[in-house]
Symmetry: C3
Subunit: 357 residues, 3 copies
């Protein structure tokens, strides 16, 4: 059952040869096979390409009905019995062009739903699309062809760049600034107050959060992710960076360009994340750190200190990855180590006994 997929089967079929040309690959086998889609090996039908980019999925070759294989070079030999292989350097890298062809995105029809609510002085670009019950407060600026999903609320003075896509149920707090081609998924909260308080007599006083929140061009923000505005400066996410669902960026965080952050990554206040950093799921950063360009952080790490550029870290607290692996490995060998120490003690006692004797 594949009909939960986006627009399956609506696009014109291609021959294997046409696919190979489209992705800059080569055909091993029959170039005339007609194809109308891509699917996992285990689900692909005869008119679809099976997708193979990882060795562990070779196990699904046995029963595959795929009419062709889209396969990474390094795995091509392992599937040479299949009658039609489209071999590319990296099968993952070939997906964007293929999927855009076979499963075209439903076009967003320009237009403003009559239930959308506008404050004073809202400025709309050409060809914008605004869904039912969207609310654009006073002074919002929307670039050309930007789209705003149902119920999304764009706070007073916020700006959205051209061709950006705001999915339903997004909230931009007042004055949030989005660049061009930004994608914000459902339920993301951008520009909320940071977590700032000071003791105040018997209670706790809120520190007003008056900074801004800026997402540069080509940023994508996952569902239910939260990005706080700055306390007195700005919070900023650099161009091309992508945040998964349920990520949290605290006030004043600075994220560089081309950063990838997986789900449940949390970055505490004022920490600076360099360009090209990648964080796996459930990683955390304490506040006021500098994380260098190209740093990689393994899943569930707790980064509590600055990390120099290029380093891979893991663990809680995080250290250089191989150091952590070695220490963890030895930790799991502690039962034997403890046993070994006991034996040493025994042998030593025996020696001491004979010495004294």
């Amino acid at each position: 059952m594949n009909d939960a997929r986006r627009n399956p089967g609506d696009a014109p079929s291609l021959t294997a040869a046409q696919v190979a040309e489209m992705v800059g690959g080569r055909i091993d086998g029959d170039p005339e096979v007609l194809l109308k889609g891509v699917a996992p090996l285990g689900q692909a039908q005869s008119a679809e390409m099976g997708f193979l980019a990882q060795r562990r999925y070779l196990r699904e070759m046995a029963g595959t009905q795929a009419g062709a294989l889209l396969v990474s070079e390094e795995l091509a030999q392992a599937v040479e019995n299949h009658p039609c292989r489209i071999v590319v350097k990296d099968a993952h890298g070939a997906l964007p062009v293929l999927l855009s062809h076979f499963y075209p995105e439903a076009p967003r029809e320009p237009g403003i739903h009559p239930t959308a609510v506008f404050g004073k002085g809202v400025a709309l670009g050409k060809g914008v699309s605004i869904g039912p019950y969207a609310v654009l407060e006073e002074g919002v600026v929307l670039g050309d062809r930007a789209s705003v999903g149902s119920h999304s609320v764009l706070g007073a003075g916020s700006r959205v760049g051209e061709d950006s896509v705001i999915h339903p149920h997004v909230v931009l707090y007042p004055k949030t600034q989005l660049g061009a081609r930004v994608i914000i998924h459902a339920g993301a909260r951008v520009g909320a107050d940071g977590f700032g308080y000071v003791p105040d007599g018997e209670g706790i006083a809120k520190v007003p959060q008056v900074g801004g929140c800026v997402l540069e061009d080509d940023v994508e923000v996952g569902a239910n992710t939260c990005i706080d505005r700055g306390s007195i400066g700005d919070t900023r996410v650099g161009r091309f960076s992508k945040l998964d669902n349920l990520v949290q960026l605290a006030h004043n965080v600075q994220v560089g360009r081309c950063v990838l952050m997986a789900a449940f990554t949390g970055v505490s206040g004022s920490t600076e994340i360099g360009n090209g950093v990648m964080t796996a799921g459930q990683t955390g950063f304490s506040g006021h750190l500098k994380i260098g360009d190209g740093v990689r952080v393994a899943a569930k790490s707790a980064v509590l200190r600055d990390v120099p550029a290029g380093m891979t870290v893991s663990g809680s607290p995080a250290r250089e990855h191989r150091e952590t692996l070695r220490a963890q490995g030895l930790m799991f060998r502690l039962p034997e180590t403890t046993q070994k120490i006991k034996e040493l003690e025994k042998r030593l006692a025996a020696l001491e006994g004979s010495e004294e004797g």
Copy 2:
């Protein structure tokens, strides 16, 4: 103050004997006590049953005013001084029938709020309930007696089975498929794009996410939980499985039947979770794993490898639970171990000295 409870006191009172019959338990003491509710031991009033299923809450017996006790067999002896005990094998197991009687759910009145927005070709079953400002896009299919809360957005082509309950502020992305009797809590995002990118020159290109997202019958999804659609196949959650609040399932994840996942559980792309698996809070799974049936995962574990059926794992990285406990225990004894090694060194040096001497 208990008036924050659901419909307190609206249902007819029962005698302790009637309660015992309803839950298949026995009465120790006065069968005529009149009861109109269940409450924690420390809060229960004279017309309520105090609830006791764990030994640690015996401490609250002292001051309880409960007119009767609903108590698990294993704890019955410890409270034998109370004048009215309703003893069952497992007090927790008795709650569904009792609470449904004493605190009946407010009936959902069928009807469609005039502010709901419908796309073309929406098909509604009998007796559906649709709240204010709900949006059902083109081609949505709603089963009999399904209810859709205020503001929820059902994307184009999504399907909701009979008797399902969509709370307010839910977003189903286009083509999401829900079975019968599914419950989706406020703020859940089902079918959003997975986190898939490939490098692209100076930037990062999005891999279109074209797969589906299928939740089978009797699934419950907690508040603000996110379930991504598949990349090229489907993401799927099996029958009877329950996800807590703030859970994240990445693209192509396959969850079996009767799985329970506590808050902040994160499952990375394409991982398969077997039937009956239970994950405690803040656990994570890396991608492309196979987790066998009946596996249990302790809180905050990071599962980085396949886990065979029936195993309990813990730790980061996760290993068999007792192995982790032993290693962690020895880790906390490292100060003594280190001390012991120092002493061995001293004694050895003494021996070596006498040897040379």
Copy 3:
């Protein structure tokens, strides 16, 4: 570029002397400098105070253009070359009064948007503000000057105290009770069903969640945070407590007064958190615990046992902080420890050989 900040430059300028008086500090240098805002050292302009509360930001003094410095006493000497310093005991503590002056909150104009939907018997205080598409179900009570943001849904019978602020897209489940001056950020879900199930033949049965959910006066709840209603009693958050974004409180949790919980903190069912507790990010608590007053929990800790008042804990499982630090430190020295044991073995074997020889 600072125009993403809240209402920059709208307030009257102050002289450095006036600022010093406002915050109870002293002027070192020119008292006549005119100031109209506060900014991070690296971003401050000549008409702004640079903010300096941590030694690590001294690095940004070099290029600062700040017309004055707002500096904590302990750092005053390090910046004595700057021509205008406003010295206070704690620069953070001075922020609330200054920021409220320079960046006044946009006033909430009382009024009810014509698209708001009201159930029967809703009771509104004086001067309330209700945004577009808000839904107040049957019997909701709203205190004087409370404000409800766009699209927020207040379930039947819920109550909101005076001067409380509900941001857009909040859901209060039925019967939720909020005190006065409570702030709820976008996407928070208060009073959803707890995660309670019992096995039921081949499936899993839901335990009805019939308890209440009560937030006392002056509580603040972050974006997309979830607080479940009680199962049979109430879930409660005490006065002045503040929850960051993406926090999860399970059913029946009791949070004391003046508690601060950072993002991704998760508290399992029925756990009691004492007054003044502070939890860093990504910490978790298992169920049915008692956490004493003033306890501090380091980032990413997993608290699995009761913690006595005043203790600082860390680690997974959490132990007393220094104990965890020592054990972790020794874990990372295991490579040397293992090497040392090998040497002891060699030396011992040598002795044993000479003994036998």
